[in-house]
Symmetry: C2
Subunit: 437 residues, 2 copies
């Protein structure tokens, strides 16, 4: 219960090589203690990495203290910075003076110092506050965080305005998807399944908008690729010719995400075991009709099965050397009512899915922009225009041709690290069974 | 229903001065039509501003077309760029060729071409999709959006990691505040009132974290300053000495928000009627005890009333020339259980409120970081540690001294523009009565 170490007086472990020959103070968690016959080590972990502290055999006070220190206890260590090619970052601290900050840590439920995470997924999720301290695990979120930053940076540079739209809504957005009901001051409200309607309305204001935030799906799927709450990276832009303009913007957003990782979290790539893709200047496109033919499916199939997507992903890699491929033209019945038809052939739509390494990562396309078309589309689906009055108002009063897309952040990260379960890629997953921590 | 105008072929209105003497195509909404005896005008609005199109008396085809065009119809106009000091941005388009994109707009419910927004607040909120198209209204959100960007930029530069934490939680975060209940696959869940517990847990991983996202308060207040859903700018950082380190980080975050506006939305300041503050290098601090004395309140008062906050705001302006003042040391009973006491006098806490122009904008402070202290604090409030097991685990296994803050984005914007009602500052407000649009 001693003096804490403020940021100012502290050297991050990664900056120690700049202080060789000097005394320096580091602060962090005791990652690992090792007592050998001749010399003992303390590995300290901070947000920048690891540092090795050496206690010599003659330093009896420090050795005695070492015996009292448990792993994960937070300490400050002042020591002399000495070059040692074998130590992390090529330096170590000698002649240390160790101060405990806070309290002794109890033995953690997960051995954080081991290279891998041994426990099964349920134990890792139950102990999320500790699990994420593991460098390989933390690196997964650092990929996500850097991707978010890169996404915003790319769209900011392209004249987009960030929006924040309500998650409490009066009705459902995506017909078909199931919604969570909320007791809203005694009447029903729902959690937004997407910011779709709001981002379209805001195209009428800012022309180009994006939002990064939570979306909610009450689908009772207990699979390795579904979450009840996830982070959606949404964009919508006006004054397009068709969905190909949307795809071009999506391409630059995804390239921005990769660039964000390269710039802000380059070391997380290896730590998380990620494989970064090259984003081609132009993403290869295949029409839905041709995609069915390619995979040998019935030409009347209304959608692609997961094995079809994997097959098309392989085709894109073989034929175009690309980890990405867009399938365009999905038949209208499988797309939401606001989907713009293909003007040349209304059996098809100006929509697309972007497959990343054979898995659907993004849904996007051109939307209707003429009020009368919305009326027709809703009536055709047996829905009422009155239920959507606030949304449809935008189209009554002048809207440009527009479209957009939504990237699932966790799906992106899961593909980067080839996670066996999407739950490994979000900080505190929510699913059919899990509401805690 | 003619050819749309893709972004590539288009010149933004603000860029027209670069094209004097050339033909250029602009795209946007018909902001205003004016037919005079000798000459007629069309004002086009796009995301960058306004541009004037001139139709001469001899151009009968264009004049006839003008009669058919309603305000808010989306058009593309090709014309010759001519310098005219009286026109917006000093140029106008002559000899125009006008193409309608999409459909004729119905007369909007709000006259967007007028300098001010005439309708009362309920009408503005009911017609939000149209209201936000007004330049003065759009400028308010542009201040918010630029502030978000500036907030992130400041903290990114300071070694923070962005996090995204669940909005669906198993219990309430802030004792006292009321929560929205959700039907979560047949059992109750709640909407998070803040990311408090999660950002603290993530200090154990990344040391310094922030989150920008929605929070939910089911407080049945029908006032000009409460929203049921708002955007919270949360940060939390470890390895602090006390709450003064948190205040220093808050200072740089707020300075970043002001800088964000200056960099990214300088013209929105005047359009929205905002007054930007200077953020002093060091924010003046007054202890709660002294604040009570300053305002002549009973020394046993447990909290500051709004008129007290206004009085302290005036004091800060007069004595320190500052729009900001931090009140520190609030008595423990009025602060949440995780608040760190003042080590010198446990009647007070290491917490603060930041007042901006006499109104509470931010709550922050140092948190407890020792598990045994959490146990004591929860027991003292009659709460169970078992209900918080996933959160408390972080403290069992080593946590540094830490603290953080939460800025209400809408409160910030509302003070900047001196809004009479906070509902004017969020895109689609949610309150006791309003769930739409």
């Amino acid at each position: 219960m001693l003096q804490p170490s403020p940021e100012q007086a502290r050297t991050l472990t990664a900056a120690l090589p700049d202080h060789v020959g000097q005394r320096a103070t580091i602060s962090g968690w005791i990652h690992r203690r090792r007592r050998l016959a001749t010399v003992s080590f303390l590995i300290i972990r901070d947000r920048a990495g690891l540092a090795q502290v050496v206690v010599g055999p003659s330093d009896e006070a420090a050795l005695a203290q070492l015996d009292t220190l448990s792993e994960e206890t937070v300490v400050s260590v002042e020591g002399t910075v000495v070059a040692n090619a074998k130590a992390p970052a090529g330096v170590e601290l000698t002649s240390p003076s160790i101060v405990v900050i806070g309290a002794q840590a109890e033995t953690p439920p997960i051995e954080l110092w081991r290279p891998g995470l041994a426990p099964g997924l349920p134990a890792l999720l139950d102990n999320a506050a500790i699990t994420w301290r593991h460098a390989a695990q933390a690196a997964i979120w650092r990929l996500a965080s850097a991707s978010l930053r890169g996404f915003r940076r790319a769209l900011d540079a392209d004249g987009f305005t960030e929006i924040q739209t309500p998650k409490l809504v009066g009705g459902s957005t995506e017909s078909g998807a199931t919604v969570f009901e909320v007791d809203y001051f005694g009447r029903p409200a729902y959690l937004a399944q997407s910011p779709q309607f709001y981002k379209q309305m805001m195209v009428g204001v800012f022309e180009r908008v994006y939002e990064t935030g939570p979306v909610f799906r009450a689908e009772p799927h207990d699979t390795a690729r579904h979450l009840a709450e996830y982070v959606s990276l949404d964009a919508e832009l006006g004054f397009i010719t068709d969905h190909r303009d949307v795809l071009a913007t999506l391409r630059s957003a995804v390239a921005g995400m990769v660039e964000g990782i390269r710039t802000d979290a380059p070391d997380a790539v290896a730590l998380a075991g990620a494989r970064l893709p090259e984003v081609p200047e132009e993403i290869p496109v295949i029409h839905f009709r041709d995609a069915l033919q390619l995979v040998g499916a019935d030409p009347d199939e209304p959608d692609l099965a997961p094995e079809h997507e994997r097959r098309i992903g392989r085709w894109a890699l073989e034929q175009h050397g690309s980890d990405f491929v867009a399938v365009e033209g999905y038949p209208a019945p499988k797309r939401p009512f606001y989907t713009h038809p293909d003007p040349a052939d209304p059996r098809w739509t100006n929509s697309f899915d972007l497959l990343f390494r054979g898995l659907e990562l993004v849904t996007g396309g051109q939307r209707l922009h003429v009020y009368a078309d919305y009326e027709r589309a809703l009536v055709a689906r047996g829905e009422s225009t009155a239920d959507h009055a606030g949304y449809l108002q935008a189209f009554r009063h002048g809207m440009p041709p527009h479209g957009g897309f939504a990237i699932g952040l966790e799906r992106w990260t899961a593909r980067l690290v080839e996670a066996d379960n999407i739950r490994r890629t979000t900080l505190f997953p929510r699913d059919l069974h899990r509401l805690a921590p």
